[in-house]
């Protein structure tokens, strides 16, 4: 159930960002520090890309777009949960590696909750989620002084719906790049 929701979640984010991001396993990619030029005839994607071909240039390395598309800016939590499963850990490992490549970048980790909880408890739960994400990034070597945390409780939903799918999207830890990116 959760995996299905996560795939949907990832799909929704991809759709919001643009079609050039349909890489399911970009783990290897983050090692390349040189600007990644995705050449037309050698697509790295493993899925058919018949609808919208990848453009001649991908996101600029070290940019917000690069982080969104090639790393992933959100991890998603179970109902009332604050544990990081293996999918979440993979995303955070990519985030940590990316942050190592771009040491000037500072981040704000926001903890978000769905609307099916009361306001104050959700503020506390969001703080706990943000802290869990921060702790994991620190355990992977990211300097804690580069990471701020904030809880938005249920105040910052990304999906406006009131159904299981929207709630799953809204229970997230969001890594926001606040400074130091290449634009």
């Amino acid at each position: 159930m959760k995996t299905t929701l996560k795939i949907t979640a990832a799909a929704a984010v991809v759709l919001a960002v643009g079609a050039c991001a349909s890489k399911p396993e970009p783990v290897e990619q983050v090692e390349e520090k040189a600007p990644v030029e995705v050449v037309d005839n050698t697509p790295t994607v493993t899925e058919p890309v018949d609808t919208k071909p990848v453009g001649p240039t991908g996101p600029v390395a070290g940019s917000l777009e690069d982080f969104r598309v090639n790393v992933g800016e959100r991890v998603y939590f179970d109902l009332n949960g604050y544990r990081l499963d293996s999918d979440d850990q993979e995303i955070l490992k990519r985030q940590a590696a990316w942050l190592e490549s771009y040491p000037a970048v500072r981040i704000l980790v926001a903890g978000n909750c769905d609307e099916r909880g009361t306001r104050e408890y959700n503020l506390a739960l969001g703080e706990r989620r943000a802290s869990i994400v921060k702790d994991y990034l620190v355990s992977l070597g990211v300097n804690p002084s580069r990471i701020d945390t904030i809880s938005y409780g249920k105040e910052r939903p990304i999906a406006a719906g009131s159904d299981e799918q929207a709630w799953a999207l809204n229970r997230n830890g969001f890594t926001q790049l606040v400074s130091g990116t290449t634009s």
Binding site: Y82, T118, R119, Y121, A124, I132, D135, S151, G161
Partner: protein, 451 residues
Amino acid sequence: MTRILTMLMLAVFMPLSLALPAAAQLQVRVDEGNFKPTPLAIPDFEVRGENAEMAQNIADVVRADLESTGLFDIQNPASFIQKDLSIDVQPRFPDWRIIQTEGLVVGAYEELPDGKIAVSFRLWDVYGGEVMRINGQPGRRLTTTPDNWRRIAHKIADSIYTRLTGEDPYFDTRIVYIAETGPKTERVKRLAIMDSDGANQQYLTPGTNTVLTPRFSPSAQEITYMSYEGGRPRVYLFNIETGRQELLGNFPGMTFAPRFSRDGQSVLLTQAQGGNSEIYLMNLRTRQSRRLTDHPAIDTSPSMSPDGRAIVFTSDRGGSPQLYIMNTDGSPRTCPSGGRDVACRITFNKGQYSTPVWSPRGDLVAFTKQLGGRFYIGVIGIDGKGERLLTESYLDEGPDWSPNGRVIVYFRESRPGAGPQLWSVDLSGRNERRVQTQTDASDPAWSPLLE
């Protein structure tokens, strides 16, 4: 402080004074099981001046206040037989008995030479055939400037309500809340205030920062709330008169879930850092704060008992959000479940419990309960007994008490995707009704009775 003492004295002496009058005298019971509203006639007020419209408006507000309790059946003026009422003359009781009026309010509106207005009224017991004395007097006369006319009306309604029910008044009060506009993913939240009947709505903050969970001080002049000002969620004090906002404390991490102590000298709040939330009590004079809870679980939403000796709060230390009570000084308590502990769990039924608010009378805690995809507002005894659910919907959240502890205000999203609205319900569970606001609204908090 003096006012609090006066209110307490009223609460103590009221039942005595009610027991004394003749058995025939009109009394409205608020807790009766088989309930029937008491017929009450409030004819238009006698006009001694130019502004007949204002006289009419005042009587309308008195009628609306009393009607809103669900305790009274405000009778249709078209059925009235006696048309020549005067505040100086005893009414013809048989005329009112024919239409089965039990209580009759006769009022007079005057314009005074100094530009002020005065409203006098008497409350008649139609079947007892006598005037009902209020604070020992056979009637009341209230004077104010014309712009304050609604408050006169609320005070008259309060006098009548208190005289007939024995309950403390609550109409002359205000409600602070969060006004919400814009789409769900870009919600604008502003601090707003209005009279208890929804009149005189005002916005107190511009909406540039999200603000949440306002609560009144016992003086009704100050509000404590949480704001994302400067990108950090922290607790602030807000002065209603001056509009001045002041950061409360210098905590690392975030602070939220503020609530004044009953004496107004301190604020309870939650501080969260490193994934752990703990409850603090800050003295507003010395600005010293003391940590009350010490547990790796989430501890939040504190509310103090009227005597200040204990707090009720939400904690998930047992695995899910539940309500706990602890002594303010941290000493162990004898728990309802047996045994002694620093914090005693009081909710053991199925479901999740949060947002506890200790009643002004001290015997009950109001809460939000979640169970099976539904949300409920309910009350429970401080001994964990006698849980009663008063409301149910897709989302009912955030109860707060009227200052007399009879009515609970909360917010409701009636169905998925519906914006939040303010509602109120009587402690009996009867008389659920919408409190009108200009925008979507959440996080209501009731003021104390105004001075």
